[in-house]
Symmetry: C2
Subunit: 418 residues, 2 copies
């Protein structure tokens, strides 16, 4: 008997029909002799609907109230999935009407404690007592993903895709054997199949590669959830809620087969929602840099690529990228800084740009990967705005309109089409 | 400076435009020098949407999960109204962007403690500390109506219209000066204007009359909210969120003018959502009655009219009515009893029926009101299925299709058309 955490994303609970299928699947797993805890996202479209309403009322909604508002989406899924499990368990004769087989639980009810960084909160602790109590009674806890409470009992949310992180954190707290992430695709692909039709499903991938793919824009898993899983070596299984086939297992590098080390590039990631900010005529003073990024960090804005250069007149030019959701907030902060501590500095922003990345653990042992990447893009006449690299990833910022061409060229060029 | 609780119903927060109007109104009240606490319902249609989804998944949804599900409707309103107040306060220059003028609060966050009767929970206590703290800082608490938490921190709801009860309970906990109930009509009418076009707005009405009108089917205020207001003599002001005119004040009987004592019938109430159950061939045994109503009470089913009669063969016939929402649950319980402790008993149900009632404190000093009522119905050839009376109310159960005729005849017959 294993203890399995099953997380169902927005499309997996997007309709009542899908919710019934989830209920069926969860009870099937239990029937195989396993204990199951379920984590759910909001129904597909629900979070966007609520976000849209919030922004119609206020251009930059207060993040505490914003979190309180959008956390309701997961609450709805929790109620519906629990009711569907009851109905299916009755239909199968597992329980009589009125008996309890599943219990819906919100963040504050199982002590999912987070910090107070609204909309991007991080989980500090989960009290597993309540969950373990229900599991011991043969009940299926159905838990709201994406949400927690801060030390003052304010409702917090973990950021887009945060339900993955909830699932991993709950799996760790429960010392689960497996954490299954059910989504609308049947695994992790060498690149986004909607962009490149020759993309192929990956059978096994290391935590590190998965993190780089996710930070490069692969939307299947939230990067923080992979970081967390890597830290505690919690194996993930990304699979489709629409099909019974095996998905992609995300595991520790030691568990990858030898053959995989020969692969230089494991995947190509693309992220279209990038904004590039440029500050010109900055004084060449690292204290200013600390000030700028300190203010952005205080506002919980995640800065991605950073590039800095010295102009011929001795002033500094600084460029960096943020996600599109932080566009206005970032501009506000930079304009405020310009009006106070950064006189004469020019603030420019450019959007939408795309980041394309190649990822692979084999890359560190193969020279010339970067130059090959630039060559492939150049052959397509795609200009590169910014470059950033890590040990197992190279990313280029390019024009949004050329993203598809870039991904296909890189996928083919690095032998992933084969 | 007064402390005012303002409760906004589903239509008052039914669209973003209406929510902006609510924000404006709340800030206007504050600008007049008052402290304001706001209680909100779910956006019109939202609760019905969620109830519909629940029933599609399960014919008799588990009430704990049902409450967890539908409580999300008020949560959405809380977030949106708070954001709208922020936006309007910024527009008026009352605060700078990022400052706090309103704070959204859910039941569990301000200690709205209830019993564990899901879907019909009763409030035991409210911890006013958090609310008072915000009010002292000049902030407007925006509170989710309809919801609370039981001693095990399960989410409970107070039943349809429960937000009125939330508002009154919060007004009492805060020792507010006034509790304003904003709705889609501009006050309490002598009867439902949609049924009888000659209905007139009542300026002032006693708590007792209001309770009888509400229990007779007037949907403007939930009866429990009036009971609670009466117990603590919390004055209510029922008014329209669409118009600035004075509404109806619900006050202690001592505060009604002398002239009103001359009015025999203050209003006519009608309630179309009634189900009549009849049990035939019951043994004439009061223990059985205790058993039957005990089971219904355990399931938190509110029984309205009860009539009992002895047949010529010495067996007992028992009829009673419940609300339409309890139809299936009641039938289930009665069938289960028939199969165990009530052999040979016939269980019948009839729906939809309507209850029409006349209400007035003057009634107790005027004989012949009942016979006049029966005469008026008889003249319209409307059959009476059941009769029940209180000191200030007489109710008749009739065919649903004749409800409109009955209300109009009674409104005219008791001089309310004038």
């Amino acid at each position: 008997m294993a203890l399995i955490v099953q997380k169902f994303g927005g499309t997996s609970v997007g309709t009542l029909e899908r919710i019934r299928a989830v209920a069926s699947h969860v009870l099937d797993t239990q029937a195989q002799g396993h204990q199951v805890a379920v984590v759910v996202s909001a129904m597909a479209g629900e979070t966007n609907r609520l976000v849209g309403l919030a922004h119609e009322l206020h251009p930059i909604p207060d993040s505490r109230e914003y979190d309180l508002l959008i956390a309701s989406g997961e609450q709805i899924s929790v109620g519906l999935v629990t009711l569907a499990i009851h109905a299916e368990a009755e239909r199968r004769g597992l329980i009589k009407r009125g008996d309890i087989r599943a219990v819906g639980l919100l963040g504050h009810q199982i002590g999912i404690r987070t910090d107070s960084v609204f909309s991007k909160a991080r989980i500090h602790a989960i009290d597993s007592t309540t969950l373990e109590g229900h599991l011991k009674l043969g009940r299926i806890p159905v838990i709201a993903g994406f949400q927690g409470v801060d030390p003052d009992n304010n409702i917090t949310t973990l950021g887009r895709g945060g339900s993955d992180t909830s699932a991993v954190a709950i799996a760790i707290a429960l010392q689960a054997d497996d954490c299954e992430i059910y989504t609308d695709v049947d695994g992790i692909y060498t690149t986004d199949p909607r962009i490149c039709p020759r993309a192929k499903k990956i059978e096994k991938i290391s935590f590190e590669e998965m993190m780089e793919l996710a930070s490069g824009g692969a939307k299947v898993l939230q990067i923080r959830s992979v970081e967390l899983a890597a830290k505690y070596r919690m194996p993930l299984h990304v699979r489709s809620s629409f099909s019974p086939v095996e998905g992609t297992r995300v595991v520790h590098q030691d568990l990858l087969g030898k053959a995989l080390e020969q692969v230089v590039v494991a995947g190509v990631a693309a992220d279209a929602s990038q904004v590039k900010f440029t500050l010109k005529r900055l004084k060449n003073d690292s204290e200013l840099l600390a000030k700028i990024f300190g203010e952005l960090s205080n506002a919980a804005i995640v800065v991605d690529v950073i590039v800095q250069d010295i102009a011929t007149d001795g002033t500094m030019a600084l460029s960096f990228t943020v996600g599109q959701t932080d566009h206005l907030k970032t501009r506000d902060i930079l304009n405020k800084l310009r009006d106070t501590v950064l006189p004469n500095v020019v603030v420019e922003d450019r959007a939408p740009l795309a980041k394309v990345s190649i990822v692979g653990v084999g890359m560190q042992h193969h020279p010339g990967v970067a130059s090959k990447m630039f060559g492939l893009l150049s052959a397509e006449k795609i200009g590169i705005e910014l470059i950033t690299t890590s040990e197992i990833k190279i990313s280029c910022l390019i024009e949004n309109a050329r993203m598809k061409d870039a991904v296909n060229a890189l996928h083919r060029g690095f032998g992933l089409d084969a």
